[in-house]
Structure formats: structure tokens, C-alpha cells
Amino acid sequence: MPIILSFAKVNDQLWAAGPEGLYKVKGEALEAVPQPEVELACCGTDGERILVGGLPHGTAFSLDSGSNWQASWMDGVEGPVLCIAADPRVAESGVLLAGSAGGGLLRSHNRGHSWTVCNFGLQDFTVLTIAWAPVAPADEWPQWEVVFAGTEDGVYRSPNAGRGWKRSEGLDGVVQIVAVAPDFHSSGIVLAGTEEMGLWRSADGGRWFTHVTDGPSRVDALTSTADGWLLSDEAQLWRSSDGLNWQPVADSKPALTLFATAQGVWHGGEQGIALLPK
């Protein structure tokens, strides 16, 4: 089974991507589709099209379920794209963000056709993960569009859909994954997973992170679920209701990516994919 590093859902179709290729998920099986890159690092979606990023560089997108691919304009960034994440309001805004190795963050306002570098405030230009906060409640003022970027230098937070960034305090390490609570606008909870420094948690909207002492020492994958949080270290999965207290999931396999859907959480790793039902 191929290694899977990333999931994306376009309409009802789930896609999985990894260095060996891009796949449509059929049940719990994978169906390969032609891929435009030598080695894929991630896939993303604006809800209609599938986008991929990886080696040699840049992103490509397909409007016809992977039959034909078009390369995006990358604003001079030559590093591979490691992550892609769409604005929760992408249907209206058309905004996507992509993180690259060495070139920082790129922002597209036309659903991935072209990208412009948006590194204002960044001090580290290797972006490993991007996580958007849910849309702010309609009666809230101002209507911030909060998004987080995990870099080799910690977490950066943007209140304005990625136009500018400010480094979050407390966490100085390589952040592999960031996950935002579904009730972010009331709880302000954000979790950040690192390779060597374990799990970190913020309860003030991602401005300040503190170490979660009860969590595993390494975090490879992390997601929020309907009833809490799920993460993976190098050996197994862990579950928590509050992001502070973690229990190992019995007989679970480690994951490199976790993707929460209505059916359950999809688990991608070195042995392909699996669905963890709710």
C-alpha cells in the first residue's frame, strides 16, 4: 500500500496523496490517477477542484477529477509545496493558502490558478502545515479570518486570511501539525503538534501556547473531531476530549495524516488508509 500524507474531499469524492501518487478513495481502496508532480506532498481542494503540491515545485490543479492538470503560477517560489488549505469561505472568497519549503507562504485568491508570496511577518520560510479557524459568527465584530501556519520556527497566526502573520508566543520548535477547535470562536483552543517537543495547546485563540505534559512526546498527525481530538505519535493513536488529557487508543496503528469526515476519521500512513468509524 502507498504512503499517504494528505487527504482532500471534493464534493463526495475523497482523495489521498503521497509521494507515490494521487489516489481516489473507493471504499477503503485506492485508485491511482495520473499525477502532475514527481513526488506529491499534499493535496487540497476549493470544494470543486483538486489541487496537489510537491516536487519538483509548485502546485497543479485539475477541474476534471484528475484527467487533466494545469500548473499554477508560483510567483518565483522554487521550493516544493508542502501543504494546501482552503479558506472555509472559499466558495465566495476563492482564497487558498499554500506552504512551501524555503519560499514561505503563498496566497491565491483565484482558487489556485496563481499564487503570490504572502510572507509578511514570517521569520521562517519552511511552512509544514496550515490550519484555518472556522468562520466567525455573523454577529461578531470584527469578522477576523484567522488562520495558523506551522513552521520550523513555531506557529504563526494571521487574523486576516493570510495577508500578514505574527508569531505565536511560547512554542519554539518545528511544528508539524496545527488543529483548531470547532468552537474556536468561543473556546479559543488551538493545538500544535511537534516532532520532538510533543503537543502544545493554546486557549487564547492561538496567541500563546503551553506544553501539554500529559500528551505523547511526538506528534505526527492531529485533528479535531466531533467529540474532541485525535492524534498520532510514531506508535499509536491517542484520544482526548479537551486537548489536555490524552489516552492511547487500543490496537491502533500510527498515522501520518488524520482527516475528520461525517463517516469518521480517515487515517493515512505508511500502510495506506483506513477509516476509524465514529
Binding site: N119, F120, Q123, P159, R163, G164, G205
Partner: protein
């Protein structure tokens, strides 16, 4: 013969009060979110100028046409202007406080209290209030707090949100370029990296010719404070770049022309398989001190050595260690943007700290301040650009002025924190002030403190009146009962927690405003005689 006329008490107090009342009555309705604007004019074009900023309104009043009212009006003009210059906001509040201080002080003075001792009480009271404000203050927690403070100045939610966001991302010394925009909307842009005015020396250096743009990723950079005309001056730079393993080289020089430019262009046009370096040569535009700072900052950011006849080496004798490294260099129409490779180096941080301290120590109206802010923007990684549009020219001008004031005030907010807004913070200081008056042995000094206690309640009362509250004293009691974090939220018409409803004032602004208002009122109180000149001097600039 033009002989001056001298008047004594009680005429002195009556004349001063007339002028103070005129200015305070003019500005009091502008207080609070329901406050209106003041029309000043007609201007040279025959139009009325709409103003809502007390210090600008005060500046427009050169004379009220009556020497008797001019004295008090000019006292107010001067103090309001000082508040605007030092604190950035709070001029109307200062006017309301100064008037109440003067009226109450005069009343007690007439009743037999010693005005000089009362002035000492006011002075001591200001210290007590400043201390109470410090206790009430809480630090800014993020962009929402900043937007809330901006809203108290602009009264415009969209503009306030953008200002709050920019101030948060750019930091307390936000280097922001504000421009008027013809279209009736707001646009903000963040320019990452150090930005310098420059001219590309050949169209062949464009990597995206259709957009007239050149982007080089991770190039080496050479800084030449000299004119490069010979091939011998640029060859060592190219060799140095290849030696340090760069795939690109940016040459920033006073000029690049002749054979030197020819060599660079021919290399740039070489087939991809033969080309060792992507090149970009720009002529830097700043001159004089600006040029010196541009090269100094570029050298600090990139680690490059400045080359030229006034430096250790010239371009012709450059060594590999003379070229610096960058993360990205981009040239577009207006100039070159250099993104540092490692902006966290200790020497960069030291210079940033030095510039921040300089800005803290420099008054808001100092002419060097924009230079420091620009250099800070260069070293901290960029500047913000805010374009403000509106349907009418007058509206655009008001919004631009409001934005400028808001950025100044937010700078103070990020340093000294915020207190409940809408005049509530000062009102919450009244119990401390009355307690200090109670403990004071000298009746005159204690009376001064009580006068101040009355005066600092006036802004809240005025805001409630402007909001159409029918029984302001009753609402004030609710605010007192609600505790030190409460205020009146004009938008909801309720007494509420200031942080929750986003009605906040800046601690340092309130504190400075009070100090200046008290000083102006005390000066007026201690005036016993007025000399009316036949032809008094008029000044556009308040003293």
C-alpha cells in the same frame, strides 16, 4: 496712540470663562461615538471643512473676533493642541475637563479658598488619578482590542477593524503609509521585507517582463556605494556570488552603466544551460542621509559589506565574504524589496531595540520620527500601506486624519494598555481621589482634589448627554455600581463590561490628556489680570 488696556478681577475670570465656554461648547458635542462633526469655514475654495478632531478644530480657530473671549479660547486652543500632539487623541475630553476645573476652581476661589493651594491639590490629584488608571489598565490582548480602541476614534467599524489588524501585525511603532484612494473603499497591503526606491538598469533583468517584475530566490547581494562602469568592477562580484554557492546575484549600486552593465546583460541573456547566475542590477534612488541609511540597513539585513571608495574595498577588489545572502529579492515598478535570510540575528535585534527606544523617546510631532519608523519597518520586516477611499473629498480627508490619529493612539495602547472607555475610567478613579482628599490635612489642597474629582466625571456625563441618555446621573450610578471594568455602551444603550463591548481608552492617552488639561486650567485659574493689546499677535501654530 495704541495703548494696551488692563483688566483685573473679577473681569479677568469672566473673560477667560467666556472664551473657555465657547471652545468647550464647540467640542463637547463631538465626544463619544454619537458625537457629530464641526464645520469650519468657509475655506479658500468657499467650502466648509468638516472636522471631528479636536486638535485640528482648535488649530483652525485663530481668533473669535472678540479680544475678551480670545484669551480663554487661546488657553483652550493651546492645551487641546498639546493633547493632540503628545497623546494623539483626547482633545475634546481635555476641553470638557479643563472647563469644569476652571468653573469649580473659580467658584471655590470666590468662596474664599486659596487658588494657589487648590492648584497644588489638583496637581496632586492628577498623580492619584494616574496611579488609579495604572491599576485599572489591562494589556492589549490582540487585534480585537486594538480595533475597539480605533473605533472610539474613527467611529467607523470597517476602518477600525483594518487599523486594529494593521497595528497588531506591524507592532507598536507601526510603519504605515496612509494614502487617499479615489474608490470608496479601503485597501490594505503588507509589503514584506526592506523596501527601497530603485531603478532597474536594464529590461533584460526582468524575470516576468510582462509584469515588469524581477524575482530572484535566495540570491547573493552586493552593495556598492559607487558607480559601476567597468567590467573589472562587476566581475569580482559575480565570482564572489558563485563562490558562495548562490544561483543569483543582485547588485545594488549608485549606478550601473557602460561596459559593466553590458557584461551583466550579456550574462543574463546567456542560454539557460550556460548561465551560472541570474542577475539583477538596480540603481538605488535615495540620496544623502537616506542613501547612507539604505546601505547601512541593507548591509545589516544581508550581512554584505558596503563596497566603494569610502569603504575598505571597492567592487573591483571584492572578496567572497563581501556579498551577502537574502531569502528573496523582488523588483517592481517603485523599487526593490529585499527579504532577509536571517532577520533574527543579534545585531539586527540590537538595532531594532535601539530604534524602538528612540521612537519611545521622540515626541509624536518630531520631524525625525517618520525616519526612525521607516528604518524600523525596514529592519523588522516590512511596512503596511493603507489606502482610504470615500465618496467625497472631505470625507476622505476626515478618514485619513482619523486613521493617522488612530495609529498614534494604538501605539500608546500597545505600550501602556487600555482602560474602560467612554470616560468611565476617569469616573472610576473618583473614589480614590476623594479618599486622598479625605486624608489631606490642608483644606485648600483637599478642595483642589475635590474639584478634580468633579471635573473628571464631566466627560462621561457629556458622552451620556450626547448619546441622548435622559438621566445621565442615574446611568453614572449604575456604572459605579457595576465595578471598575464597566462603562456605558452607546451602541447597545446599556451599562456593560468595557472589554466585552469593546469600549476602551488608552491608559497613556487618558493620563497625558488629564495632565495637560489640569495644567491649562491651573494656569487660567492663577491668572489675575489681562493685558489687552490693541493689535494682538495671531499665530497659526498654537504655542
Amino acid at each position: 496712540m495704541n495703548r494696551p488696556r488692563v483688566v483685573n478681577q473679577p473681569t479677568t475670570h469672566r473673560d477667560i470663562l467666556m472664551g473657555m465656554n465657547l471652545i468647550a461648547d464647540l467640542l463637547a458635542p463631538t465626544l463619544g461615538p454619537n458625537g457629530g462633526t464641526v464645520a469650519s469655514g468657509p475655506t479658500a475654495g468657499g467650502r466648509a471643512e468638516l472636522l471631528d478632531d479636536a486638535s485640528t478644530i482648535a488649530r483652525r480657530i485663530i481668533s473669535l473676533g472678540n479680544p475678551q473671549t480670545d484669551i480663554g479660547a487661546m488657553v483652550m486652543r493651546s492645551l487641546i493642541w498639546r493633547v493632540g500632539q503628545r497623546a494623539g487623541d483626547g482633545g475634546a475630553t481635555a476641553a470638557v475637563i479643563a472647563r469644569r476645573l476652571y468653573v469649580e476652581g473659580m467658584r471655590l476661589g470666590t468662596a474664599g479658598y486659596n487658588t494657589v493651594r487648590m492648584a497644588r491639590g489638583i496637581e496632586q490629584g492628577v498623580k492619584v488619578v494616574s496611579e488609579s488608571l495604572r491599576k485599572l489598565a489591562r494589556p492589549i490582548t490582540g487585534e480585537t482590542d486594538l480595533a475597539a480602541v480605533a473605533r472610539t476614534i474613527t467611529k467607523d467599524e470597517a476602518l477600525s477593524a483594518v487599523i486594529g489588524e494593521m497595528s497588531f501585525l506591524l507592532g507598536p511603532d507601526a510603519p504605515v503609509v496612509i494614502e487617499k484612494y479615489v474608490a470608496p473603499y479601503l485597501q490594505r497591503r503588507y509589503i514584506a521585507g526592506a523596501h527601497f526606491g530603485a531603478e532597474i538598469r536594464s529590461m533584460y533583468f526582468y524575470t516576468q517582463p510582462e509584469q515588469r517584475r524581477a524575482v530572484l530566490t535566495a540570491p547573493a547581494i552586493a552593495l556598492c556605494e559607487e558607480r559601476l562602469t567597468e567590467t573589472a568592477q562587476v566581475l569580482p562580484l559575480m565570482e564572489a556570488a558563485i563562490n558562495v554557492g548562490a544561483k543569483g546575484l543582485v547588485i545594488v549600486a549608485q549606478d550601473v552603466s557602460g561596459a559593466a552593465l553590458g557584461l551583466l546583460v550579456s550574462n543574463q541573456q546567456a542560454p539557460a544551460e550556460k548561465k551560472k547566475l541570474s542577475l539583477l542590477a538596480v540603481k538605488i534612488k535615495p540620496v544623502g542621509d537616506e542613501l547612507r541609511w539604505a546601505f547601512t540597513d541593507l548591509a545589516l539585513l544581508t550581512g554584505a559589506t558596503i563596497l566603494g571608495p569610502n569603504h575598505m574595498r571597492k567592487g573591483a577588489t571584492a572578496l567572497p565574504q563581501d556579498v551577502g545572502r537574502t531569502q528573496r529579492v523582488e523588483f517592481a515598478t517603485k523599487g526593490v524589496v529585499v527579504v532577509a535570510h536571517d532577520s533574527k540575528r543579534a545585531d539586527i535585534r540590537e538595532e531594532i531595540a535601539r530604534l524602538r527606544q528612540l521612537l519611545i523617546d521622540t515626541p509624536l510631532d518630531d520631524e525625525d520620527r517618520p525616519k526612525y519608523a521607516r528604518r524600523l519597518g525596514t529592519l523588522t520586516g516590512g511596512v503596511g500601506e493603507l489606502k482610504i477611499g470615500a465618496h467625497a473629498k472631505e470625507d476622505r480627508a476626515i478618514r485619513e486624519a482619523q486613521a493617522e490619529r488612530a495609529f498614534k493612539v494604538l501605539s500608546a495602547a500597545q505600550r501602556g494598555g487600555v482602560v474602560p472607555g467612554g470616560g468611565a475610567a476617569l469616573y472610576h478613579c473618583v473614589p480614590d481621589l476623594l479618599a486622598a482628599a479625605e486624608a489631606e490635612r490642608d483644606d485648600n489642597v483637599a478642595a483642589g482634589m475635590r474639584v478634580l474629582a468633579t471635573a473628571i466625571s464631566a466627560p462621561l456625563e457629556q458622552i451620556l448627554i450626547n448619546a441622548g441618555v435622559t438621566a445621565p446621573k442615574v446611568e453614572m450610578q449604575y456604572i459605579r455600581d457595576g465595578g471598575p471594568t464597566t462603562t456605558y455602551d452607546v451602541f447597545s444603550g446599556k451599562v456593560a463590561d468595557a472589554a466585552t463591548c469593546g469600549v476602551l481608552d488608552v491608559t497613556d492617552v487618558v493620563s497625558q490628556m488629564l495632565s495637560i488639561a489640569a495644567s491649562g486650567a491651573m494656569m487660567a485659574l492663577s491668572t489675575d489680570a489681562i493685558v489687552y493689546h490693541r493689535k494682538p499677535k495671531q499665530s497659526l501654530q498654537p504655542d
